[in-house]
Structure formats: C-alpha cells, structure tokens
C-alpha cells in the first residue's frame, strides 16, 4: 500500500502547488496581499497528509475504487474517464480546483469511503472552508469594486483635465502662427538688401576687370618696350577672351583695336625672333600660339623660317662651291665671296675643302638642322600639321638633294677641268695632253661622297618616315651619277671643242705669217700635233670616263636598283657625246649635218630638278648647259663666211676635223666598244635583248663616216676654190689676142703650184700616203709623158677633126669625175684639189678667145705644170690630172683663132732657156 500511497501523495502535493500558484497569480493581478491566499492553502496541506494516511488500499483497488466512488457518488460517470494508466483518481476527485473535478462523484466517494464522523468532520471542514471562501470572495469583490471605483474616478478626473487643455492648445497654435508670419516678413525685407549687395559686389568685380582691360595696352606696351615679350603675351592672353567678346562695342573697341595692333606687333616681333633665334623657337611658337594665331599659319611661319634657314645653309654651301671653282680658276671670283665660317667648311687657309669633307660638313649642317626642326615641329604641333611639314621638308630636301647632286658632281669635274685648263693655257704649243686624263674623272671621290650622303639621309628615317629617305638617298645617288656621267662626257666634249677653237685661232694667226715660199718641211706641224693631241684626248678621255664608271659598278649600293638604266645611260651619253662632237665639228667647219636632228642640250634628258641646280652650277666654269654654245657661236660666225663678214674656217681645221672623224670612226668607236664590253660585261654592245643598246656603234660609225667624207669634201672644195682662183687668174687676166711670143711659163703657174703645196702641207700632216708614192717619181712621169704627148698630138689633130672624132677620142680616155669619193690619202685629196683647179682652168680657157701666141703661152704653162702635178697624185689620179691638163690645152686650141702649137722640142728648148720662176 505504501507504493500506491506515495504517488498519490505526490499527486496531491502537485495539485496543491498548482492551486497556490493560481491564487497568487490572481492576487497579484488584483494587487491583494498574500495573506488571504495562504489561508486556504493551509487546510489543503493539512488535508493532504491526512488523505493518504487514511487511504491504504492496493493501488489497483484504490484505482478501481476511486472511479467507482466518483461515478457512484455524484453521477455514475463512465470508467472511460479514468486514466488508462490506472493512476489513482483520488487526487483528482479531491482537487476541487481541477477542471475534471466531479462534485457528484467526489461526494459519493466520500460518502462511501468515509465514516460518519469523518463525514461530519468533513462537513464541518467543508462548511468552514466554504465560509472562508465566501468571505474571501466577498473581500475580493469588494477590493475589486474599490479598485474599479477608484479607476473610474481617475478616468473621470483625467477626462476633465484633458477637456481643459484643449483651449490652451488652440491658443498656443495661434501664437505660433503669428510668430511665423512675422518672421517671414522680416526675411523678405532683408532679401532685397541682400540682392542689392550681391549685385554691387558683381559690378565691383567687373569694374576691377575692366580696369585691367583699360590698363592692358599700357601694360603690353610697357612690356614690349622692355622687350619682355613673355609678359606682354601673358597680358594679352588674359584679356583676349574678354576683348574678343566685348571688343566690338563701346569704349572697349578702342582698347581692343589698340591691343590688336600691339598684338600684331608682338606677333611680328615674335616671328622675327623665330627666324633669328633658332633655339627659342619652341617658346616663341608657344607664345605666338597664345597670341591666338591660327595653327596653320603658325606652322606655315615656322616651316617658312625653317626653310629659310635651310636655304641659308645651301646658299652658304653654294658660296663654298663658288669659292672652290674660283680657286681652280674656273670662274672669276664671285663678288660676294663671304663665307662665314671658312674653317668650318674645311678651308685650310686658301685651300678649299675636299669633296668628302665638304659633303660631310654640308650633310652635318643641313641634316642636323632638318632633323632638329622636324623634331621641334613634332613637339610643337600635333599630328595635324604633319602633312605640311612633310611637304616642306620634302621640298627643301629635294632642293638640298639637287644642290648636293650638282655640287658633288660639279666639284670633282671642276678639279678635272682645271687640270685641262692649266694644261692648255700654260703651254703655248698645241700639246693638249693633260694630267687629267689619267684621273678617273672623280668617280672614286664622288662615290665616297655619295656614300656619305645616302647614309646621312637614311638617318632621317626615324624622324620622317614619310619621306622614305632611303628612296631619296637612292634618288640622289642616281641623280648625281647621272649628272656626273653627263658632266664627264660634256666636259670631254667641251674640251675637245675648245681645243679645236684654239687650233682654229692659232691657224688663223699663223695663216698670214706663212710665207708663200717657205718649205713645208721647215714648218712646225700644228695640225699633226693637234690631231695627235685631240685624238688622244677623245679616245683616252672616253676610255678613262668609262673606266671611271667601274667605280660605280664595283660599288653595289650605287647601282642597286638601276643597273640597266645606268648602263643605258652611260652608253647613251657616250653616243650623245660622239654625235654632239660630230655636229660640233660640222658646225665648226661651217657645214650642217643632213638628216640629223639638232643635238639637244646634253643634259636636258636629266631630271628637271637637277637642271635647275645645274644652272647655278653653270657659273663655275664653261657650264655644262652651254657646251654647245662655243660651237654654236662659231657655227654662226662660220655661217656668215659667205657674206664676207667673217672668214671661213681655216682649211687646215676642216682637214683636222675630217681626220678626227675618220679616226673616231675607224678606231675610236671600236676602242670604246671594247672598253664598254670590259666595263659592263654582258651588257650593251648589242647584246641587250629586246631593247636596242643605247650606244649604237654602227650608227655612230655611219654618221662619223658620213661626216668625215663631208668634211674631207669641204676641205678639198675649199682648197679647190683657192686653186680655182689662181687658175682663173692665169687664164682670165691677159689679153690673149694680143699676147706676146711666149718665153717661158708665166709666174701665175707658180702661184697655182704654191696653192697646191699649201694644200699638200696641210694634208701631209694628217693624211698618209698610199704606198706607191715612193717609187713614182721614177716610173710615173715617163709612162705618162709619152701618153701625154700622144694625147696632145691627138688634140692637135683634133683641131681640124669633127666633133664626132673628138667624141670618139674622148671615149678612150677616162672621164674625169668630180663627184667621186675622195679617199683619206694624201694623193687622193690633192688630186681632188688639183682636179677642181684644173677644171676651172679649162672653163676659164673656154671663155676666152686666144691668138696663136696666147695658145702657145698656155701650152707652155701646161707643160710647166705637168711635171710638178705628178708629185701630188697617184697613178690613176695622176692620169686624170694629166688628162685635165690636156683638156686645158684642147680648150685653148678650140678657142684659138690660129691653133698652132709649138713642137715638143721647141717647148723643151724654151723651158730650158726660160728663167726659173721665183
């Protein structure tokens, strides 16, 4: 039983605890003290131990009993109400505060289980308990009521309080509103003032600025006067926007105008400074920009100044070149020969710099300047102006290139030409061999200089890639080489022509002093000398030029891209030189070439840029542009030979020219071809594939041959004319009808022979004899004299014979041809001359009417001439001459009223008895 009792007791204690807590909660809720609560708890606590003690049944019985009692007591509640666990129902039944408390059952249980006394006790206990509870309840209701009443009171007082406050609040509101209104009005009033003040403040600021503006001109001017350009610019720059904006009206306009004027002056001054002070250029440019100059014009100015400086360098260099030329005495010293920095240009005292030195110096100056300027430009202006920069740089670069080309090509040529000059003017004789021929025409030093130039130009690559400096370098090289070639050839040509001019003047001078009687052997042989010198000059000159070209071919970089063009160029120039020499020769001889265009200026084919530079170069000597001028002028003077205003070219010169042409044709061209083949192996010389070679040897030779023939014919014609005059004098002058008996040949015959020997003297210097000359004196006259006697007898008989017989007789004699080709031999030339003279004699005789004595006189003359004439001619030509002499005689007989010739023995006798002529 103790086991069942223990949990029941525990349950009972648990229920107590619970009710106590409810009570305290309630009391705390109502704020009542603990005391009333404790009172009820006490019975419970006392009650609890009593109950377990009274109950002692087994738990199962107790459990079963309890519900029975409960159910039996109040109402018979189903056993389902009992916990299935079989917990004792007692505490629940006893716990009146429990929700499941069943008063009926509790009562029944009580009735069942308890004894009467206990019931009584219980009853009493319960009634007391009810009584206390009622009192508790009463007290609680009272207290509750009290509290309610007080709460109601409090609420009532609160309500009355609040009602009173409302009015105050209203009042407060109105007060605050009025305060706000006032504050607003005060604020408004103050705002006007404030605006005014603000405005005044602004005006003050403006006035301050305006003051600055009005002061501006003065300040700028002051700054200008003190040359404080920077400050002036600062001032201007500050005021500029203002002026720009307001400068068009009112009082400011005046200021603006003034300032503008000042600004212009300022910018002018700055630009001047830009020109002069190179180092400050950047600052100056900045200043000018601040002056509001547009960038374009600024760039323009900048580039202008740059160009001016670059040109200054070129001018300086040009002076140097002139000085060099003057040094070599190629030109009169220029009047304004002031080289600022002779030492800088490599002058050592009076000695001008070498080419290399000069080029290096020029490059140094020019390119450095250029590079610096370009860099500066880059720095000053953005990429916008680059195009313009490139343009200007390109222009000045090409100017410089042209100049360099001209001067570099010119300088060595000057040197070369100078040698020629000294060689010529130094020696009185006509020896023309000059040391310059041994030179390589400056090719080597030129190549070195070119190397320098092209390298230097490449330096610009980094700075100005647009210019493609490499190409420019190649261009320069090409230009210079072209120019040099042209110069070389035209220089050679010039020398040849001027040597010829010298020869001509020498011949003219010596012509009067040439005494008619002086033997040709004693005379110096100017023609032979001149020919040797000239042929050597042309041949070796051309050869050495070509050899000089080796320098170029051996240096690959020179001809990198235009090897073929180069070869063509050289050949073309060579051909040009030959042809132009040729036309120079012909012009000198007073002849004009047939079927050939006028020779163009040798250098006209070159780039025009170089041409311009060349013009300036032309002052350094007999300039390349005028190589044709001496020959042209001489041609002009020779052309007037017919009008008597100037004498025709000396015959010796014509012969010299003819011989030169012949020499060039026979040897010069072949030699040149050899050299060409050696210098440019595999190129040119007719092997040039689809294009014809620029040097057409055949054509050149053909023209030379033509010209040689022409000149030779002219030589023969000139001498023939002189001889004709003499011959005509011999037959025209006397009165043939009243002629006296002849006593011997007339002196005029001697004149004819002299004329012939003059021709011989000239021809003998240059032309070779054919081989039979030596043996002729023995055999020739004999054979011919017999023949001559025969013909003269035929002529004698022909006097009476008919024309038919005469013609038949003529059929057997060879006809004398005048248009025949004249060979380059002494006898052929002399025979040609004699032929012309004798023919004139025939013609002259035919115009006369002679008496017997006159005829016989002519017979003697002819006889006298016959022997000496054989000296001049070869067999066949001699025969022709003799035939012409016969014709003279037969013409005389035809024109004779009394055709009676002297018998040959008589002739011999008279000849023997005749006084010797002169």
């Amino acid at each position: 039983m103790a086991a069942t009792e223990a949990p029941t007791a525990a349950n009972a204690a648990d229920l107590d605890e619970k009710s106590k807590r409810v009570r305290s909660l309630l009391s705390s809720y109502y704020g009542t003290p603990q005391a009333p609560g404790s009172a009820p708890s006490t019975p419970t606590s006392t009650d609890g131990p009593g109950t377990p003690a009274s109950a002692g049944p087994s738990p199962a019985a107790a459990a079963a009993a309890a519900p029975k009692s409960l159910a039996g007591a109040p109402s018979g509640r189903p056993k389902a109400m009992l916990p299935p666990s079989g917990l004792p129902a007692t505490p629940r039944l006893t716990n009146i505060d429990s929700a499941t408390f069943d008063a009926e059952r509790y009562l029944q249980q009580l009735l069942k289980q308890t004894r009467l006394d206990a019931l009584l006790v219980k009853h009493i206990e319960m009634s007391t308990e009810i009584k206390s509870l009622d009192s508790d309840m009463q007290m609680l209701v009272y207290e509750n009521y009290n509290k309610f009443i007080s709460a109601t009171d409090t609420i009532r007082s609160m309500k009355s309080n609040v009602d009173g406050m409302d009015a105050n609040m209203q009042e407060l509101n109105t007060v605050i509103e009025s305060v706000a209104g006032r504050s607003q009005s005060v604020n408004n009033k103050l705002q006007q003032r404030r605006d005014h003040i603000e405005e005044l403040n602004q005006v003050r600021g403006l006035l301050f600025k305006l003051q600055a503006v009005f002061d501006l001109p003065r300040r700028v001017r002051t700054a200008l006067e003190q040359d404080a350009v920077e400050i002036a610019v600062d001032h201007y720059a500050e005021a500029a926007p203002l002026l720009k904006r307001y400068g068009h009206k009112g009082a400011i306009r005046r200021v603006a105008e003034e300032v503008d004027a000042l600004a212009r002056e300022l910018s002018k001054r700055l630009k001047a400074r830009l020109m002069t002070q190179r180092d400050d250029a950047a600052d100056t440019i900045k200043l000018i920009r601040r002056l509001g100059e547009p960038v374009e014009s600024l760039q323009e100015d900048f580039l202008q100044s740059m160009r001016a400086r670059l040109e200054g360098i070129l001018v300086e260099a040009h002076r140097v070149v002139e000085a060099v030329a003057a040094h070599y005495r190629l030109s009169p010293p220029p009047a304004d020969l002031r080289i600022k920095d002779p030492a800088g240009w490599g002058f050592e005292g009076e000695t001008p710099p070498g080419l290399q030195r000069f080029v290096v110096e020029l490059d140094q100056r020019f390119l450095t300047e250029l590079a610096q300027t370009a860099a500066l430009f880059e720095e000053l202006f953005e990429a916008g102006g680059r195009k313009r920069l490139i343009k200007v740089v390109k222009r000045s670069l090409s100017e410089a290139a042209a100049f360099e080309a001209a001067s570099t090509a010119g300088v060595p040529m000057d040197a070369a030409a100078q040698h020629g000059h000294h060689g010529r003017s130094g020696s009185p004789s006509l020896r023309l061999t000059s040391p310059a021929l041994q030179r390589d025409w400056g090719s080597a030093s030129l190549a070195d200089a070119l190397y320098t130039i092209s390298n230097d130009i490449t330096r610009l690559q980094r700075l100005l890639p647009e210019l493609s400096p490499q190409d420019r370098g190649v261009e320069i090289v090409e230009g210079v080489v072209r120019l040099h070639i042209g110069n070389c050839f035209s220089c050679l040509e010039r020398r040849a022509i001027s040597s010829l001019a010298d020869v001509r003047s020498k011949l003219r001078e010596s012509a009067p002093t040439e005494a008619p009687g002086s033997a040709p052997e004693e005379q110096p042989k100017p023609l032979a000398e001149a020919f040797t010198a000239l042929s050597e000059l042309v041949e070796r000159g051309a050869e050495s030029i070509l050899q000089g070209m080796r320098v170029y071919t051996s240096r690959q970089w020179v001809l990198r891209s235009w090897q073929d063009v180069f070869v063509d160029l050289v050949q073309g120039q060579l051909q040009h030189m030959f042809l132009s020499l040729l036309s120079g020769f012909l012009a000198m001889a007073g002849l004009q070439q047939a079927g050939m265009g006028s020779p163009s200026t040798p250098l006209a084919s070159h780039s025009s840029g170089l041409q311009g530079a060349l013009k300036s170069q032309g002052s350094t000597g007999e300039g390349p542009p005028q190589p044709a001028s001496p020959s042209a002028s001489s041609a002009a003077s020779d052309r007037q030979g017919g009008s008597g205003s100037s004498e025709p070219p000396p015959t010796g010169l014509v012969l010299l020219l003819a011989k030169l042409c012949e020499f060039l044709e026979s040897q010069g061209v072949a030699k040149v071809m050899e050299v060409l083949a050696a210098v440019f192996p595999g190129q040119g010389a007719g092997s040039g594939g689809e294009q014809p070679p620029a040097f057409v040897a055949g054509e050149v030779a053909r023209r030379l041959r033509l010209a040689a023939q022409q000149l030779l014919t002219a030589f023969v014609a000139a001498h023939g004319r002189r001889l004709s005059l003499a011959a005509r004098r011999s037959v025209d002058s006397p009165d043939w009808l009243q002629h006296k008996e002849p006593r011997g040949p007339r002196p005029v015959c001697q004149l004819i022979l002299e004329r012939l020997s003059e021709a011989e003297a000239e021809a003998g210097q240059l032309l070779e004899d054919s081989g039979s000359m030596m043996q002729r004196p023995s055999s020739f006259p004999d054979t011919l004299s017999s023949q001559a006697v025969g013909t003269s007898q035929a002529a004698t008989s022909g006097v009476q014979s008919s024309a038919l017989e005469r013609n038949v007789a003529r059929l057997f004699s060879e006809r004398v041809r005048f248009s025949g080709r004249i060979e380059f031999t002494r006898s052929s030339v002399l025979a040609g001359v004699a032929r012309l003279g004798l023919k004139s004699m025939v013609e002259g005789a035919r115009l006369q009417t002679l008496g017997r004595a006159g005829l016989q006189q002519l017979q003697l003359d002819v006889h006298y001439l016959r022997q000496p004439l054989s000296r001049y001619a070869n067999n066949s030509e001699g025969a022709a001459l003799w035939q012409l002499l016969d014709e003279v005689l037969s013409a005389a007989m035809e024109r004779s009223l009394e055709p009676v010739l002297l018998d040959p023995p008589v002739v011999e006798r008279i000849m023997a008895a005749a006084p010797p002529l002169s």
Binding site: A594, A635, R639, G642, S802, V842, L897
Partner: protein, 363 residues
C-alpha cells in the same frame, strides 16, 4: 630611177646656148653652137613626149659663134643673140622665118659708148617681161636699157657697173618690172631701172663668182642664184639686208652655170654644172614659203646642206650624169611642165622628164 626617160640629140659643134621657145604647143628649144672657127648655126629642136623623140625641125645659119639665145617673150619668131666674132662681141635681133634657112636681121645693138667708157663684151640680154620693145643688156662693165624703134634700136639709158665688178648675167623681176638683178663678181646687185641705180647689193652672195640668177614666176621677191662655189642659194629679196640666203645647197662639185625655176611650179628647179651633171631639185617647202622669213630658228638651214631631199624635204632629187662634158645650159619647156633640156659643151642636147613623184598635181 628606172622610169627615167631621156632623149638626146647631138650637134656637131660645141654649143653653149640653149633656150626654150615660147609659142609652140610642143616643146621646142633653140640651140646655138659655139665654134670659133666653124660656121655656126641655130638649131630648133622639137620634143615629142609620146614618141620620146627629139628631132631638129629647122636650122638657121649664124656665122658667128652664139653665146646666148634669148627668144622674145611675146613674139615667137623673134630672137636675140649674143655673138662673138674674132674677139668682137655683138648683140643682134633676128626674125626666124619658118620658110627660110637664114635669119632675118631685125636690128643690132650698138657697141659704141656714149661716155667713152669701154663697154666690154656682152654677157647677157634680157627682154622686158611684158613690154615688147624694151630690152636690157649686160656687158662686163655696163648695164644698158634699149628701146626698139624701127628700124633702129636706141639706147634708153646706161649705167656703169662700178669699178670693182664685171657683170656676168642679169635677171628681170617678173613681177616688179622696175627691178633687175645682176650678178657681178660674187655679189648680186639689185637695180632700180627707173633711176638706173643700184638699189641694194648682196655682198658675197656666193664664195666665188655668181653665174646665174633666176626669178620665180609664181612668187614675187623670190629668186635663186648659182655660183662658182658649186652652191645654189635661194633668196627672198625682202630680206637681203642680212645677206643670208633663205636656203643654200652645196649642189655641185664644180661651177653652177645655170639654175632655173620651172615656169609652172616653184617647187621644181634644174641646175647645170661644169662637173657634167644636171641636178633636179624639188623644194616644196621653199615653194610654200615655209622659210621665206629667215628667223633664227631657220637660219641654221642657211649653211649648205648635203643634198639629200628624197624624204619629202627640199633638196636635189636627182642628178643626171650622162653628159660627158660641162653642162652650160638648161631650159624648161615652156609648154610641158615636166620636160627640160640640157646642153652639154660637146653639143649634146638631152631632154629629161621630171620623175612622176615630183610632178605637181593638177598640172
């Protein structure tokens, strides 16, 4: 030149004078022989181009050697001759009657000298281009103008050639009849016939004596001269002050004895030389007046050029070389523009025709 056609006739005596006869429809020439000791004659030759024949039609005896025959420009039968008889020079006018074999004398020019100055031998005689009764003679030292007044021939005026010159020939301007050119020495003189004064002179027109002058029939102021220097020079008389010919050619190897414009075309000329050749010249650009004003540009052409004008330029287009001796005279036919005759000293007259390509079209 394969189509070159020539036909010849040989006289028995040497001859120097040849003249085309005006009038007849066929081409006729008169040739005068020059034999000092023979009986000379004037032979009329007729050329028929169809049969290519040259045959003598008449011959007239002319006892003295004939140095020049000058047919009258408007009277077909009248002819003037310059003759030499034993060193005596005379100038006479004849009428050639077809029926007779002798010349009918129509007058002789006096050789007397009014001022007593020596006349010298006659060198040339020129009829007035239009006035039928006027003529001019050139002798070595004098220039004389004559007027025919039947029966005598009167000297109208007389001028001295000057001390330095011996006149050789003359040419009467075909357009300006008051102008006459004479050749004296190597100069050419222009005369104003109204005053009989030298109006101008080309000094050293040739390097040697001038042999012949001819005026263009087509173009005023244009003339050509040939000289002993073998050249022929073309002149524009408006520009002779400069003394430079418009064009000059080295034409022959010896003296040029005659140079003649074709009467129908200035572009054709013939030249005769003592080198035995006859040159035919084709000068279309000169005839066109292309270089009539010598400018500096064309003055380069004034030096004698070699004579290769076949490529359309001016120049000698053919040289006829079949004469054996000096050719002293040449004359264009007056009726056939393509035919001309040349006379060699050996008495051989050859008539040539101009090659087809040089004949001017339309004529």
């Amino acid at each position: 030149m394969s189509e070159q056609r020539s036909v010849s006739y040989g006289l028995k005596l040497p001859a120097r004078s040849l003249a085309a006869l005006t009038g007849p429809e066929s081409s006729q020439w008169a040739v005068g022989t020059t034999a000092l000791r023979e009986e000379n004659e004037i032979l009329l030759l007729d050329h028929d181009p169809r049969t290519a024949s040259l045959r003598p039609i008449r011959s007239y005896a002319h006892p003295e050697e004939v140095w020049a025959i000058v047919p009258h420009p408007s009277k077909p039968t009248q002819v003037a001759t310059l003759a030499n008889s034993g060193g005596r020079s005379c100038a006479r006018i004849f009428t050639m009657e077809p029926a007779q074999s002798a010349l009918q004398p129509a007058g002789e020019l006096g050789t007397g000298s009014a001022a007593g100055a020596p006349l010298g031998s006659f060198k040339a005689l020129r009829w007035h281009p239009t006035a039928a009764d006027q003529l001019i003679t050139v002798s070595e030292s004098r220039l004389r103008r004559w007027i025919i007044r039947d029966p005598s021939i009167d000297m109208a005026s007389d001028a001295s050639a000057g001390d330095l010159h011996q006149l050789w020939t003359a040419a009467w301007d075909q357009h300006d009849h008051s102008r006459l050119l004479t050749a004296g020495g190597s100069n050419i003189q222009a005369w104003d016939l109204r005053t009989m004064k030298k109006s101008s002179e080309i000094e050293a027109a040739h390097q040697m004596p001038v042999r012949d002058i001819d005026f263009s029939r087509q173009e005023p102021h244009r003339c050509v001269s040939g000289g002993d220097d073998g050249r022929i020079c073309f002149w524009d008389l408006r520009h002779i002050k400069a003394g430079q010919p418009v064009q000059a050619f080295l034409a022959h190897a010896h003296w040029v004895w005659q140079v003649r414009y074709n009467p129908f075309s200035d572009a054709l000329l013939l030249s005769c030389s003592s080198d035995g050749t006859v040159g035919l010249w084709h000068t279309p650009s000169l005839a066109a007046g292309g270089s009539s004003t010598p400018t500096p540009a064309t003055s380069a052409a004034t030096t004698p050029r070699s004579v290769l004008g076949r490529d359309g330029g001016d120049g000698k287009v053919h040289s006829f070389e079949d004469h054996e001796d000096s050719v002293y005279a040449g004359a264009w036919s007056t009726s056939d523009p393509t035919a001309f005759a040349s006379l060699c000293y050996d008495g051989r007259v050859t008539v040539y025709s101009v090659p087809q390509q040089y004949r001017s079209k339309g004529k």
